[in-house]
């Protein structure tokens, strides 16, 4: 490798094209402090000059749960597999929100940060990674709310079963983060030059929620469309999530395995495309 040889004598070699797989992950590691500072920035700036501060993290899922319980539970009368409705929706919303936030925020990372990226070099991957981690903080706070609800319903003796599959939780969180990140990276890279996809993503994510088992269980999906819903990689994750915490859901190794495979492919593809785009996007964004 010519590139490697040159690097022995020089600290840095800048060339027009480099191999697709030259990802500079070492560089990303060197800038890890920046990652934490960006996460801190997001968190701190979110609640500056607010009275309720971090409490705002609770309010959104809480109100969504109330509205969903009213509309989908009471008015439309959708099945919740016999689970208490608020608990059922809360589980879906919390998980879905984390994925959706990761996806929508990373899908505009080039456009939103064009200013910084155009002026100073640091591994661009730091920015989307910081988004995923900041959302994780938010997700953690919302999980607290979910745990409180679980506690409340356990106290009132509602019918649900926390079980050993809850140990899958860290893996599920990682899957949601990486899936959102991977898809987001692909979209942000594709939209630096042609912005068409950016329009799709804003309402696409909203619509995709209905193709995921957030407001209904997979078992209640009509047989004719079930395969469409199962094609959605988030379905397997949310079903597993619900199965672990509440004991109802369709957790099979096929669906979860499919979600894992889909996530890994999206992630690898996303990182490669992002890495290729970051070098010249300043000229086209």
């Amino acid at each position: 490798m010519k590139h490697e040889e040159a690097l022995k004598e020089w600290d840095l070699v800048i060339e027009p094209q480099s191999s697709l797989l030259q990802l500079n992950l070492k560089d990303v590691w060197r800038y890890r402090d920046l990652l934490w500072l960006l996460v801190k920035r997001d968190f701190v700036s979110f609640y500056k000059q607010t009275i309720l501060g971090p409490l705002w993290f609770f309010i959104q899922p809480l109100f969504t749960t109330i509205i969903f319980t009213f509309i989908f539970g009471n008015l439309a009368g959708l099945s919740t597999d016999g689970l208490p409705q608020p608990l059922f929706y809360m589980a879906g919303i919390t998980a879905w929100n984390y994925f959706a936030d990761c996806l929508t925020k990373t899908s505009t990372v080039f456009r939103d940060n064009a200013n910084i990226f155009g002026k100073v070099y640091f591994p661009r991957l730091i920015m989307p990674l910081s988004i995923v981690v900041s959302n994780l903080v938010r997700f953690g706070v919302q999980m607290l709310l979910f745990f409180m609800m679980i506690g409340y319903y356990a106290y009132t003796g509602a019918d649900f079963h926390l079980n050993a599959y809850v140990l899958l939780f860290p893996i599920l969180v990682l899957l949601m983060a990486l899936l959102g990140l991977g898809l987001g990276l692909i979209i942000t890279a594709l939209t630096t030059k042609y912005r068409d996809l950016a329009f799709l993503i804003t309402f696409g994510v909203q619509l995709m929620m209905y193709a995921t088992t957030v407001i209904y269980p997979l078992s209640a999906a009509p047989a004719a469309y079930k395969w469409v819903i199962e094609l959605n990689p988030m379905t397997g994750i949310i079903e597993a999530f619900r199965y672990g915490f509440l004991g109802e859901g369709s957790l099979t190794f096929q669906t979860l395995g499919y979600s894992i495979a889909f996530t890994l492919i999206a992630l690898v593809l996303g990182v490669i495309i992002f890495n290729k785009t970051e070098k010249t996007f300043v000229d086209t964004v």
Binding site: K40, K48, F122, V282
Partner: protein, 221 residues
């Protein structure tokens, strides 16, 4: 061992004029087809023209930089002078890895700190102190390093009294001073400066002169 710090060979950069629209996608395909499938030379390089902003040209592809070769030795302070649109900033952007060259190669020895603009990444809601950390990290400093230099940076900036106030309440001059103070404390062998000095130099000249001694500076303004 030679003491060359920056070596630039045959550096070129082309830009496309006009808007990016539906016309661009067909050109992209043409370019992709000719270079990747037919293994021809990049057609854009042939129709590219010298960058002369005053005259109307035939093509919408221009060379912002064309076949630049130079070497800079350790200890040199180099200034780049040219008219608007001559390519000074483009060169600095390529050197600081914000964008890549179209052709050519650059070898660099030493850590690079590029100050193409002071205060990049400042967040208005954060305090001066928080912004020192954030901005320092963006410029490539480790947190430990900033901890160590914090007092020095605050001292240099001369805004100690406001350091725990959000920077949105600062005057523009104060923001510039703070940002410059952070930037100048990055440990680097090579410092690239692009019009940053136009902002905040009055009686600070001496201090900056001293620091620039141990760095190679490339300056454009």
């Amino acid at each position: 061992m030679s003491n060359t710090a920056i070596k630039v060979e045959n550096l070129s950069k082309i830009y496309r004029l006009g808007e990016i629209g539906t016309g661009t996608i067909s050109r992209d395909m043409e370019r992709w087809f000719k270079t990747k499938v037919l293994k021809q030379e990049d057609p854009f390089l042939k129709i590219g023209e010298t960058n002369d902003r005053a005259n109307k040209g035939m093509s919408d592809i221009v060379y912002s930089l064309q076949d630049i070769n130079f070497e800079i030795n350790q200890g040199d302070a180099v200034g780049i002078i040219g008219r608007n649109g001559a390519g000074k900033s483009t060169l600095l952007k390529i050197l600081s890895r914000v964008t890549t060259p179209t052709t050519g190669k650059i070898n660099i020895k030493g850590r690079v700190a590029s100050l193409l603009e002071v205060g990049t990444g400042f967040h208005p809601e954060l305090t001066g102190r928080e912004n020192i950390y954030l901005n320092g990290a963006i410029l490539g400093m480790r947190k430990r390093e900033i901890d160590r230099k914090l007092d020095e940076i605050i001292d240099f900036s001369g805004v100690e009294r406001y350091i725990d106030t959000p920077v949105k309440r600062y005057s523009s001059g104060m923001i510039a001073r703070l940002a410059f103070a952070v930037a100048i404390h990055v440990d680097a062998e090579i410092i690239l400066l692009d019009e940053v000095l136009s902002v905040c130099l009055r009686h600070d000249d001496v201090a900056i002169g001293c620091r620039a001694d141990d760095a190679i500076g490339i300056r454009s303004s």
